[in-house]
Symmetry: C2
Subunit: 270 residues, 2 copies
């Protein structure tokens, strides 16, 4: 953090110019932020946050003006160009700005786009990596992304558009990597069909994880063949779900038994 300060003073060049710190808020719980992220929030004067950031995380920035720029309560999210303009304006007013994103800013977080916009505007910007939900959701559910003799690689892909996951998941040799799909709940049927078609056994263990690292975490365990039927009764249909497909999923029942999850206040749906 001492480095942060010297970086700020050196980059300012122009007196009075603020700066933006792109901060990963991790998978949900406030104590899964990094120490560097907490300090950035404590020093922030303005925070622009996404809808998935928890209330307890926002309370780490008690002195900051806080603006939600994500999709919330059915209303559309702020346009990306508007977010850029808001950050640039606040920085030009000399503010210490934090842009707070769920997970890691560079894993489907549009962090790169925002850094490019800030760089174009001459606004100093740095990134604080966060614990990615892509890895933490499985880990907290008892699923290691890699495991000797089971998987020496993993693939993380967005399920939002078939143009993204299609080329990858239809050519991936069966078993060559653990497959982790973010925002993939709506596509679970299509993904299951495509992977079975590509030669993955229907019996390959599969999981769906909702709200990892939050009090409303839910887990479904099944197989690639039954994945289309995955659901958790108490989870709203539009809650983001993480899919995990691969032999490592079989470890979940041992590494995080359902009764343990329940004692942690989490439920399982299988």
């Amino acid at each position: 953090v001492s480095g942060e300060i010297s970086v700020a003073s050196r980059q300012s060049g122009r007196p009075g110019l603020g700066r933006v710190t792109l901060v990963g808020a991790g998978p949900g719980a406030a104590d899964l932020l990094t120490v560097r992220a907490v300090r950035a929030l404590e020093q922030a004067q303005v925070v622009f946050y996404d809808a998935l950031v928890s209330r307890e995380t926002l309370e780490l920035a008690p002195r900051a003006q806080r603006f939600c720029v994500g999709k919330r309560a059915g209303r559309p999210s702020t346009r990306q160009e508007t977010i850029h303009a808001l950050m640039i304006r606040a920085a030009r007013r000399g503010r210490r700005v934090v842009r707070l994103k769920g997970g890691d800013p560079f894993v489907f977080g549009r962090g790169g786009e925002e850094m490019l916009a800030l760089a174009s505007a001459g606004v100093p910007c740095e990134v604080v990596p966060g614990v990615s939900s892509a890895l933490a959701a499985p880990a907290l559910s008892g699923i290691p992304a890699t495991h000797r003799s089971l998987s020496a690689a993993f693939v993380v892909v967005s399920g939002h558009a078939e143009t993204a996951w299609g080329p990858l998941l239809t050519t991936l040799p069966p078993g060559a990597a653990t497959v982790i799909v973010l925002m993939g709940l709506g596509a679970r049927g299509a993904i299951s069909a495509a992977m079975v078609q590509a030669g993955w056994p229907r019996s390959t263990p599969a999981a769906v994880l909702w709200g990892a690292a939050t009090a409303v975490a839910r887990r479904w365990l099944g197989t690639l063949g039954t994945l289309p039927e995955a659901q958790a009764s108490s989870v709203t249909q539009d809650a983001p779900g993480t899919l995990v497909i691969g032999e490592v999923v079989a470890l979940a029942a041992v590494l995080a038994p359902a009764d343990e999850l329940e004692e942690r206040g989490e439920a399982h749906a299988c």
Copy 2:
């Protein structure tokens, strides 16, 4: 695997029984540990740590007995079975044990193996996910793992054995994902050749990153074709290096210009 273990015995809550917390130490800097990790270290009575864990990180556990079980100063690392036995013995003596691993415990960290061994022994164990070096090393070097219009997926694989990366990297459609190879420095020539053979353009941007998030961070930028020649003069040959291959690497020069890295006390070799 699930058959081997009596789940019932783990939840015993036997009085006097200690517990083990598997903690991810993140990519290097102590302030990139999570708050939960810092608390676990503060409360630890015994810490078993890997060689890549920094001194400043270890100082977060001032009251604990600390044992290095990783490869150090040319001496071989502790056998995996010995690590298991040491953790189980400490826990059975009622100790609060932290098993501290670089990055995330479940990304090539053998965390799953250790949790299985602890579960078999009836020792309560939980995991604290960490910031994975696989994502943080690129991020801190100005390389987003995903970026709209450039990459909607990424692959993380170990470069340690061709049996791991071969099946994946020789079938991955060119450009379908950002490729991140951990422990891949020694295999950079073979990986470059295999990917070019599989149709990836030799002009695809590529990077090698050493010691991300530490004071000795080094970055090399080039292409898939020049990757075999990648080196940083001031880095010892056996320092672990992270390879990144894909169009997103082209963003590095803009998002983290070389002069900025130098001012942060980091150097670049390109």
